[in-house]
Symmetry: C2
Subunit: 371 residues, 2 copies
């Protein structure tokens, strides 16, 4: 399909709008919409929160009365089903738009081309595939979940230039600088869940929450005090967690994954214990990921030590690696990023694709995905 | 000093011109010159090779007869002394230019402000400090040598994302991709010397030369067959090198640094053995660097294993680290980048400054310098 320069610019704007929902829409996707008539923008909007109006509704409201004959740019195919809101395809038809350009078809089986079909049946011209790559990047978690039934897992790692996470004696505060740590807060806030292990919680007395004081995109969140907290999921096979840890001082949902229930402690109301099967004496990580998929979790932020990261890596459960690298050299004896099997052939080394490499304060952030 | 937008653009051009000499000028600095009259470029040039005309001479020749009242943009202060060529300051005076703008003063004690003084005494207006940062980056080796008497040492490292250079069993061919390896050829070609250890030469049967077949900037070198070869400097404390190694198949200068002469082998004419003092049972690396300084070597490209890199790092003899990072994860047991003392306190970790972070083919290249 042929798209004009103007089409590109309006869709790029719709994508920028969509991003404004990045901390709030989960488990719904981020979507942006721009309405254009006679080369003028007459309405724009983005999806803010599940249960609230979709992007198209916001844009149509803004353009009220002027939508006859307009073109709609939407980052995701308009929905065709009655959910918590009526179908957006119907809204666009009722508004009299003459053309709808989508960045991509919605893989949600409840939509999957039906939105476009509904528009076409009403005589509206449609097109899709404009800035699809950028639109997909908005919703990695939502798309993976829709396409495979499993959440998208991002492993966060932090190391020196020579790949060490700590000194031989375990000291590691801090390898990376304050701006990289602030950056981590944004990723946590975008995720449905933060996954970690009992070790990390016990050794660092980690809270693994989103802290308003360290959160940088405050203009995107109406009320910092109400910043959405991702579900914190902690794997604790040996039942070593106890309710006095700082983790439990933040009153937001925690799931503890175990292989046998802990009956020793009284847990706060926001803590749920879930028992999962064992695999080779440890908690079955595939079962863990599948369980999280049942909990409306699209995107998992893995922030753990070398043992859990190594096991997730070896079991190919990580979709993306985000490595913060500090301009430091620890050298001999420093601790490594992954505890995993020793490889004996070059051909065994898993290969990835670098998708980004940027400076974050005094550090670097490298993103790599499975090929 | 105030510089106009046009001044910036002409100086930026002069810097681009200077870069064209990057493979050929050593031990002389890279210098570019642009001559402008009535807002038109009337001459431009760069220094190509030690002994040949300086940048100013090339530019003046191109502008012949039109130089009266022109402005000269030079990336380095024009020289004031009679060397292999007459002083450029005199050339500019004779040409009747009315103004000379330099990016920086030449730290060479034979010049060091005298070029500017000579111009001013002839009534020519002068200014300096325009794009000085960029101009300094052209000549890191030359400047460090002039300012401290020592060469600028760049350590080249290559690792997986988790900082491993090889499998536990030593296999390492290849961690990085062909484009990164081509990139290394450019850095070798820019350097006065490549420094390595006997281990690297023996284990990889490394040639450590510049190979025309892998060299990418061929438009900058007149005759690839005559590509300047950096001096190869190999530290061989235990006299393990022998003349049958591939290293010696390339007939260009090799210096073997030892602690005691090898009298066992017959060495080719281009090989020089140099004995240096010991320090703690190993060759004294400070003495090695000081020796290289006496050999017209401004920039050293260190391409060695974890032992030599670790020792150079620990003795603070490295000015810049260039790390090629491949999108691979080796994990447990992989070999590290530096063999060095084990640190016990976070405060002992040396800190650097990231100066660049770019994708090179499928890999990343990170540059970090001492602060």
């Amino acid at each position: 399909m042929h798209f004009t320069q103007a089409d590109h610019e309006y869709m790029a704007l719709a994508i920028e709008l969509a991003k404004q929902g990045q901390y709030t829409t989960t488990p719904n996707p981020n979507v942006g919409c721009v309405l254009v008539k006679n080369e003028k923008i007459i309405g724009q909007g983005f999806h803010i929160q599940a249960g609230g109006p979709h992007a198209e509704v916001h844009a149509l409201r803004e353009a009220q009365g002027k939508t006859q004959g307009a073109t709609a740019y939407v980052t995701l195919e308009p929905c065709s089903h009655y959910g918590r809101t009526p179908p957006c395809a119907k809204g666009l038809i009722d508004a009299g738009v003459k053309k709808v350009i989508c960045a991509m078809v919605d893989p949600n089986p409840q939509v999957a081309g039906n939105g476009i079909k509904m528009l076409e049946q009403a005589g509206i011209e449609t097109a899709y595939g404009l800035l699809e790559h950028e639109a997909r990047a908005l919703n990695k978690g939502f798309l993976k979940k829709m396409e495979t039934g499993k959440p998208y897992v991002i492993a966060k790692l932090a190391a020196s230039l020579d790949g060490k996470t700590a000194l031989q004696n375990g000291q590691s505060k801090w390898i990376t600088g304050p701006i990289a740590r602030q950056d981590v807060q944004s990723f946590r806030a975008q995720s449905c869940a933060v996954l970690s292990g009992a070790d990390t919680v016990l050794v660092d007395d980690a809270k693994l929450n989103v802290r308003a004081s360290e959160f940088k995109d405050f203009e995107l969140v109406d009320n910092l005090a109400q910043l959405r907290q991702p579900i914190r999921v902690i794997i604790d096979t040996q039942n070593r967690l106890h309710p006095n840890l700082s983790l439990f001082s933040q009153e937001s949902k925690i799931i503890i994954l175990r292989t046998k229930l802990d009956k020793q402690h009284q847990w706060p109301h926001f803590v749920e214990q879930v028992c999962l099967p064992e695999f080779k004496g440890k908690l079955d990580l595939h079962a863990a990921i599948e369980y999280l998929a049942t909990q409306n979790i699209n995107q998992v932020w893995l922030e753990a030590g070398a043992t859990l990261c190594g096991a997730m890596h070896e079991q190919k459960l990580i979709d993306e690696y985000i490595i913060y690298m500090a301009p430091k050299i620890i050298g001999e004896g420093g601790r490594g990023l992954f505890k995993s099997s020793v490889l004996t052939e070059m051909a065994q080394i898993p290969e990835f694709k670098i998708t980004e490499c940027v400076q974050v304060g005094t550090d670097i952030r490298i993103s790599a995905t499975t090929k």
